[in-house]
Symmetry: C2
Subunit: 346 residues, 2 copies
């Protein structure tokens, strides 16, 4: 007896279903899709048989023929942090409702991998792609290639400005501005921005917001003070932040990426800085644990889940009725500054 002798169900396809019912396979196909061309009686018979025999349509064949995959690609740098996770949940929640499935692709925040992923997706495997671009993406040719193949793109959070495509973002400039003002209001004299190197627009917008807030508040010379974290290994970031804290001695920190929160807290612990007494910290993050950190972290909370929902709605809307001009859709959702102990007096 063969070890791998799984007694397979005779794989059931439309042909067999048709034979069973004494119908042509065309009629079966139509019946399953509720076509007006088939009688109610026949539809019922077909559906009954399909259910009884556990028939489920072969998606490869179906989409090969129909050029419709009911699949969306989600391309993200990572799913390690809670932001992208929540966005994905948002996307999935609406995709699922509309009978779409999602293919997750990670770029590991690398331009090269992003190109190769996007290039692969030109083969018609998905109906559209939702993407948050890698932070070192400098060139948008791969996006244009995708568009030329007729595959629509929706950017979320991190878009690529040279490309004309729909986007769903948050108010990066304003929220960075507000957070910086909040730090200043709470007595900070020397606020550093800890951010990430790269051409992604959200980071420059946040940086601009920070700069403008300093300007508008007549900040001391020496500012702005911006350091760029390597973004790869946590240990490297911690070291960089620690060195900066020792050298520049800031009394306020604005962090533009989620995972920097842990790094910054750790760096402060290492050199014995008390938050918020010695230094106040605010961070762009959607981490659920922000409220129970030590101390509770003031956050710029982006509506991650809603962002995913909106992006998916836009894309699916376009895919089902082509009448919206997808490329002109640019949504900006407001973030919320949630003030907690890390910027408080205590």
């Amino acid at each position: 007896m063969n070890m791998n002798d799984e007694s397979n169900d005779r794989k059931i396809n439309m042909k067999m279903l048709a034979r069973e019912l004494n119908l042509s396979i065309a009629t079966v196909s139509r019946a399953l899709k509720d076509s007006y061309e088939v009688s109610d009686q026949t539809k019922a018979r077909v559906k009954e048989a399909a259910a009884r025999l556990n028939y489920v349509v072969n998606t490869q064949a179906s989409s090969l023929r129909s050029h419709k995959t009911y699949t969306l690609a989600i391309v993200v740098p990572e799913i390690g942090d809670s932001f992208f996770t929540q966005v994905i949940n948002g996307i999935e929640s609406v995709a699922d409702k509309k009978k779409y499935r999602v293919l997750i692709c990670m770029t590991h925040d690398s331009y090269e991998r992003e190109m190769s992923v996007i290039n692969e997706l030109t083969n018609g495997r998905v109906d559209g792609v939702l993407i948050s671009v890698a932070s070192n993406t400098r060139n948008g040719d791969h996006f244009n290639a995708l568009k030329r193949k007729g595959i629509p793109i929706v950017f979320f959070d991190r878009d690529f400005k040279e490309i004309n495509a729909a986007s769903v973002k948050t108010d990066d400039f304003e929220s960075a501005y507000n957070a910086t003002c909040h730090l200043l209001d709470n007595g900070c004299k020397k606020i550093s921005l800890i951010t990430v190197r790269g051409g992604v627009s959200i980071f420059s917008a946040r940086e601009e917001g920070y700069r403008q807030a300093l300007i508008d508040n007549h900040s001391k010379p020496g500012l702005p003070d911006i350091i760029h974290c390597a973004n790869e290994h946590s240990a490297d970031n911690i070291a960089m932040i620690r060195d900066h804290l020792l050298k520049a001695r800031p009394d306020g920190l604005l962090l533009t990426v989620e995972h920097l929160s842990t790094d910054a807290y750790t760096a402060c612990q290492l050199i014995g800085l008390k938050i918020p007494a010695d230094i106040k910290i605010a961070c762009f993050t959607t981490q659920l644990t922000a409220g129970i950190l030590n101390p509770a972290l003031t956050t710029i909370q982006q509506p991650a889940f809603e962002m995913g929902q909106k992006a998916a709605e836009l894309l699916i809307e376009y895919l089902t009725y082509k009448y919206i001009q997808l490329e002109n859709q640019h949504l900006v959702l407001p973030s919320k500054l949630i003030i907690r102990d890390s910027t408080g007096l205590r």
Copy 2:
């Protein structure tokens, strides 16, 4: 001019590539797959042309014909928490290396959705599935149906014991046992287990570990004390935990699921219980922020990423060389008890 007039690249397929090169499409196909049947010279020509014309193989057609999709389904309850996120990262890291893509399906921890997802996957859309079962799954018929279609299954973390399939899990009994002992050692007299209702084996294993630790340590009467959280809305969980704290007055808490950490901390805050002075807490979680919580949380840290890697390796190993007996593979990875302030004296 048509609004939707995307000047599509003439979609390039093998036929066109073949014509361009004055070759048959069979030879082109073989050349692209590095078949020994085609000369090095021709291979080079074909590959050059493919690259130049941005040809990328149509996966639908390819897998329709070859019955190989190079796609894995990952079926999880949610991806909201860091545990599943890390597992997915682990899976993706090895899948990507082996040229597989991943389709993410969420069950929202519901048996019905799990059935419908698994049922859909019987259509040959994926080569195999990696799954962590919903907590209220009572019946494994859908898994058997999948197996009968010849689609292999690997369970990770939460398996379904009635089904004969590969699994990668952690030492749930032992780690719950050890964590409970740790709480007892640190002076707890009355430890409650906060867990989740459902038939999933990991929860019963953790419960057993907890029970056995109490027995072995001659715990007081009144124990064990176990409450089951609704698992749906955070607010409900917080209320349940708060009520329990007020009524049963435990001095130790063992939490079996990640998202309960925030809920438990919040409940304690609400009624003014100091951690760890009034109550000590340990939790099964892989949250990165555990160390910077207030207070830092003692965790049973599961090797989530490795778990994903192992599960994917097993599955892909089986898919590429069918000679391993997949169903007999049962890996158990050790968790680590990471002791922090939440169970300390302070």
